[in-house]
Each structure stands twice: as C-alpha cells, then as structure tokens.
C-alpha cells in the first residue's frame, strides 16, 4: 500500500474536482430540469395538489390531513373525522407515535379513542375499525377506511340537519377503490369529503 504523498494529494485533487462538477450537474441542474418538466406537465401535483374553498383561496391539500376538532380536542361532528395524528396535523412536521406494539401508553390511548367514538357516534367498540383508533406514521393521512366513514355518516347528517342519503352520496363520491383493483386499500378521503360538505352546506359549517 506504499504510496507517495504526491500521488495522494493528486488523488484528493481529482476527488474534489469530481465532487464540484457532480454537485453542479446532479445537485443543481438535475432538480431544476425535473422541476421545469413537473411544473409544465403536472402543475397541480407538483405544487402540492391544493384544493380551493368557496372563496377561491387554498384551504389545504387533498393529500394532507387537517384537524376537524374543537379547541378542547373533541371532534366537531359537523365534519368527518380523520385518523388520529401523533403530530396534531402539523403539515410541516410529519411523524408518528412510534409507540411499540406492547406499550401500555398506546393501549391506553387506543382505549380512550374508542370511548370517545363510542360516545360520540353511539356505536359499540366492536364496530370501530382499527384505522379510527391508530395514528398513521405521517400523522397526515387524509384517508380513513370506508367502515370509519360509514360509522360517522348519521351523526354528521344529524348535526348539519341534512338527510342521511345526501351525506351518504358525498361519501360515495369521495370513496376510492384499490388502485388497479388490487393495490393498497380502499379509502375515503376525509379532506376532499369535508371540502365538498362545506360547499354543499355552508350554513352548517359552524364556527
């Protein structure tokens, strides 16, 4: 392995020059070109799939969950509820609970969430699907299972004074099957569902 200091210095000088050129090409040009193509061809997606409210202003992204709880943390039943979030729906600070499968704190949290759902929606514990009482890893999962959406329909309709069938129809419109029929899981997008609800029944949005 004997090597002259000069050869070593030369080797590092090559490495430094290579890193500079590669940084310009891969770290600057490549992302700029991709951004250009993305902004031209897929503007909506590239900019975060934002959705607009009645006023025409952005009210969020169809991909990112939002909070539909009151200041006390209780669910606002004029809205469909998303899954629990370990980061309180902080879109700029994603994350999960990371609680282990036998962590007593997680068991307690799940039991407490079940209680709230049982009392709010008048259902039994056995009717509550797993996604309703567990936090996603992103903390920003905008989707719930069809079972969890169905479980909320009657209460949302009642709070807003709307016919159940009308709310049911909106849920159906915001329900997505598995991709290609077999990839992933079916889901209801709560963010787009609530946005549609807000447009259809502005007087029921409350404060």
């Amino acid at each position: 392995m004997a090597t002259s200091p000069r050869a070593t210095v030369r080797q590092y000088w090559v490495a430094i020059r290579a890193m500079i050129v590669l940084t310009v090409a891969l770290g600057i040009l490549y992302p700029l070109v991709i951004t250009g193509i993305g902004q031209l061809a897929f503007r909506g997606q590239a900019n975060g799939s934002t959705i607009t409210g009645a006023s025409g202003r952005d009210v969020g992204s169809s991909l990112i969950a939002q909070s539909f709880s009151g200041k006390d943390g209780a669910p606002l039943t004029q809205w469909f509820q998303p899954r629990p979030s370990a980061v309180d729906f902080d879109a700029n600070g994603s994350g999960g609970s990371n609680l282990g499968p036998n962590n007593p704190d997680l068991v307690k949290a799940i039991d407490a969430r079940k209680k709230v759902i049982e009392q709010t929606y008048g259902v039994t514990a056995a009717q509550i699907p797993a996604d309703a009482v567990t936090a996603s890893f992103s903390g920003l999962d905008p989707d719930v299972s069809i079972a969890y959406a169905d479980l909320q329909v009657a209460k949302v309709a009642q709070t807003r004074g709307l016919p159940v069938a009308q709310v049911q129809k909106l849920v159906a419109e915001n329900t997505h099957g598995r991709d290609l029929g077999y990839l992933g899981d079916a889901y209801v997008n709560v963010v787009t569902l609530n946005a549609a609800l807000a447009k259809m029944d502005p007087s029921g949005n409350g404060e």
Partner: protein, 560 residues
Amino acid sequence: MTNLWLFLAQFGTLAGILALAYRPLGDYMAITFTTKRDLAPERGFYRLIGVRPGAEQSWQQYLRAVLAFSVVGVLFVYALQRFQQWLPYSLGLPNVHPGLAFNTAISFMANTNWQSYSPEQTVGYTVQMAGLAVQNFVSAAVGIAVAVALVRGFTLRRSGTIGNFWVDLTRAVLRILLPIAAIGAIILIAGGVIQNFNPVETVHTIAGGVQHLPGGPAASQEAIKLLGTNGGGFFNANSAHPFENPTAWTNLVEVVLMLVIPFSLPRTFGRMVGDDRQGYAILAAMGVLFTACLVAGTIFELHGGGDSAIAAAGGAMEGKEQRLGILGTMLFDTTGTSTSTGAVTSAHDSMTSFGGMMMLVNMMLGEVSPGGVGTGLYGILVMAVVAVFLAGLMVGRTPEYLGKKIGGREMKFASLYFLTTPTLVLVGTGLSFAVPALRGSIVHTSILNPGQHGFSEVLYAFTSAANNNGSAFAGLTADTPWLNASLGAAMFLGRLLPIAFALALAGSLAAQDRAPVTAATLPTHRPQFVGLLIGTILLVSALTYFPVLALGPIAEGLHS
C-alpha cells in the same frame, strides 16, 4: 382468502415488471462497464477532473480513489450543513450543529441515510439537493463500481489491475442512475409527489384552522433516494408522507425503483463472466430469501393479535397509512430493509413484535436479498465464495468459483468481510448497555418504549447503521453525543471496510489464472448450489444474531 389473492396479484405485478427488466437492464449495465467507448460528456468530465480513462488501477489504487472520493463527499456535506443559514433556499433554518452534521454527512456518503433529525425542521432545499441528493447518486455509483470491480476479478486473468474507479463511477451515474431517476421522478410527480421551490405555505383550513404546507424539490430526490437504495426521506415520515408516496400505485413504482437495479445486476454478472446461468443462480438465491421474508413479515403483520396494543386496536394499523394497507406497507418495508435502502412507509417501531423482527432479519442477512445497488451483488458474491469453500471442505474438492481457486488469501478477505458488520452491530449494542455512562443516556434519553422493545430500538439502530440500511425503530432519540458518534463510526466502517475487503478479494482473484473446469469442479449454476448459498447466508447470520434477537423481539413476541 382475499388477502392471499391481493398479495399474489401485487407480488405477481412486481415480479413481472422485474422479470421484464432483468435481461435488457442487466445486459445494458454489462455493456456499460465493458465497452471501451467514452461518451462526449464523459470525455469532457475526465478532462475537467484530470483523469486518463484508459489508465487501469490496481486494487489498492482503486480503493484509494474510493476512499478519497468518500472522504471528500463527507467534507462537502458537512460543510454545506454547517454553512446552511447563508445558503439560498434554506427556509430560514439555522446551521446544523456539528455532531448531527458529522453523523448526517457520513450517513449519506455511506449510502445509509440514517437520519437523526427531522428534515422539515433541519435542512433547507439547498442542503437537500446539493448535499444529500448528490450523495444519493454518487454513493450508489460507488456501490455499483465496487461490484463491477469484483466481477472483473473473476473475468480477468493474471491481471494486476481491476479497472478504473473514476470511469466506473462516471458511467454508473451518467448511463444508469441519472436516466432512470429522471424518468422515475416524472412518474412520481404525475402521482402527486411535489416538485417546486415554493416556501412553506400558510393556509386557512376547511374547519377554520391554520396549516403550514411544506414545499420543495421532493420528487427529484425521492427517485434517486429509492433507485440508489439510499432511503433518506425529504420529509421526516419518509415514504409514509403523502407528498413522498401519495398513492398505492406510486408505492409500487417506488418498490420497483428500489429493486430494479439490485435484481438486474446478477444478469450483468452472468454476462460479464460469460455464463448467464451463473447470474440466474445468484438471482434465485436473492429471490428466494426476499420472497420468504416478505411472506413471513406480511403474515406476522396481518395476524399480530398477540401484542397488546395491536389487539386493543383490532389490527396493526398504528404507524401505517390507510391508502397503502398492510399488504402495500409490508411490500414496501420488506423491500426497504432488504435492499439497504432504509426507506420506510410505516413506523417499524409500532409493528407487531415479530413483524418488526423481520425488518431486523432482512438487514441481518447482510443486505444480500437483493441488497443495495452494487453492495448486494458484491455481498452475495463474497457469500458465494464462502459457500464454495464450505462445500469444498465437505466433499474434499478443491474450492473453485468461476475458475478461480479459493485459497487461504481469498478466504481471509471473505471472512473479514462477513465478520465486519456483526462485530460493529454487537459491539455497538453491547457498549450502549454495558458502559454505565452510556447506559444512562441510552435509557433516559434515547429509548422511547419500555421493556424488551427498548432494547430492540438500540439493536435496530446499530444493525441499520452497520449494514448501511438507514431505517429505524424511530422512537429512539438518536441525536445524542454517544449515538451520533457511535452510529456515525458504525456507518463509516460498515461501508468502507467491506469495500476494502471486496476490492482486495477482487485483486487477488484477478491476479490468478483461470483453472480449467474438470469433473471435480463443483457446478455453481445448479439448484444444489443455490441451496448451499442460501444455507451459508442463513448460517452466518442466524448463528451470529440469534442471541440478540432472543433478547429483543422474540422475548417480546413470546411474552405478550
């Protein structure tokens, strides 16, 4: 029953895509590394950096070039983080503190992408693009280069050289990684992955609240993060974040990006040694291990009723995304841990005891099922050398692989190779609990979950770092002086020592003449050898890691 069909349909689609890519991509990569022709931009690049592309290197020179390039890479990424606040598009974020910057710089050079930090709150767009994403490209290219150099060891006869590192690096980046990453990035944007330079946008939400939506060039980084089996997320939640992995079909695209090069490299190997069947044998061993681990992990997650929190919720959905479901999640996460990517789409910390154990096992196999880009191929070729040697001992034949004698010198390098990672994992985990001063910081600051699961968090961290995977039982708080330093060291040594041993082995093989095939030569393209190779991999990892697995996930799973 439906889960079975859904699993088979998803698996069949993936296997079909990879099968379609196997020959064309494998052949293309073989041509890339054997042709004498340089492209015009390559010639310009060699002139700029002062390299003669025709100059062949000995294994020592090749290794020195890898080391120089790696050290310079670490310094670049370290410097960018330390000067962050003066860089453009830094989103007002401050300079990264030295311990964390050190850990992160090594992590990205080493193709590990362990992240002791939350990206949204730590690094701006410039550090992500010009620092981290550049390493995503070049660390992957280094892996491919070393793999190609080792394969040349088998093809060359009485040669003192094994190729030129700068040429291999350049071709891996320009001809393989860049075009596929660009296509992947555009597909991902179409699926909803963001790609912009917008600042964080404040919106008034539907229910009248306030939300801060992040922006950033995520898709360009996401594509190479996966294609280069790096794994470092643009966001903290990695590929669970809807802006990184918005749908079940992007999930499959991302899995394909992670697997396409590692599963096609056996073809490149077969082509270069002039016997396609040798490539199929390696592919078979990788494929069997991957499939078995995927099935096991999926079954554990679907039926994880023994764990108290899983039973309370009625399913293993803590830390998982609804759109991906358990099947999509396990396909992605098995891939992420089996390819040394370390990208995750769920919280491994919250998986069932045995499901989480499978994530550990996938890494403990030594990242050869199919392993990272390049690293997987050179890892499994080293294991093939060991398998040939063991078979030789058992039946009294001269150990030979592809016409090269496996003697004492070759076995020394192969043994050092496969001992490096377990040593780093076990010593690191052991020290964390055995040294009182360290144990205090581990128990009171780092570990999140009580009981055996807390032990598993630390074991997982060292397994991930030493194997250059980068995923985590992320409840662990790793931004502490001990873990930043020790995991940084584990990543550095876990990357460069095996590379050194693989290149030494390449040099030793290349120097040999090629022995003729005789009746006494063990055939290495038959199912018998595939079984032997799988057995060797399992033996080496199972014996080494079983005791620590028993202390962690097995104890937790059986106890609950």
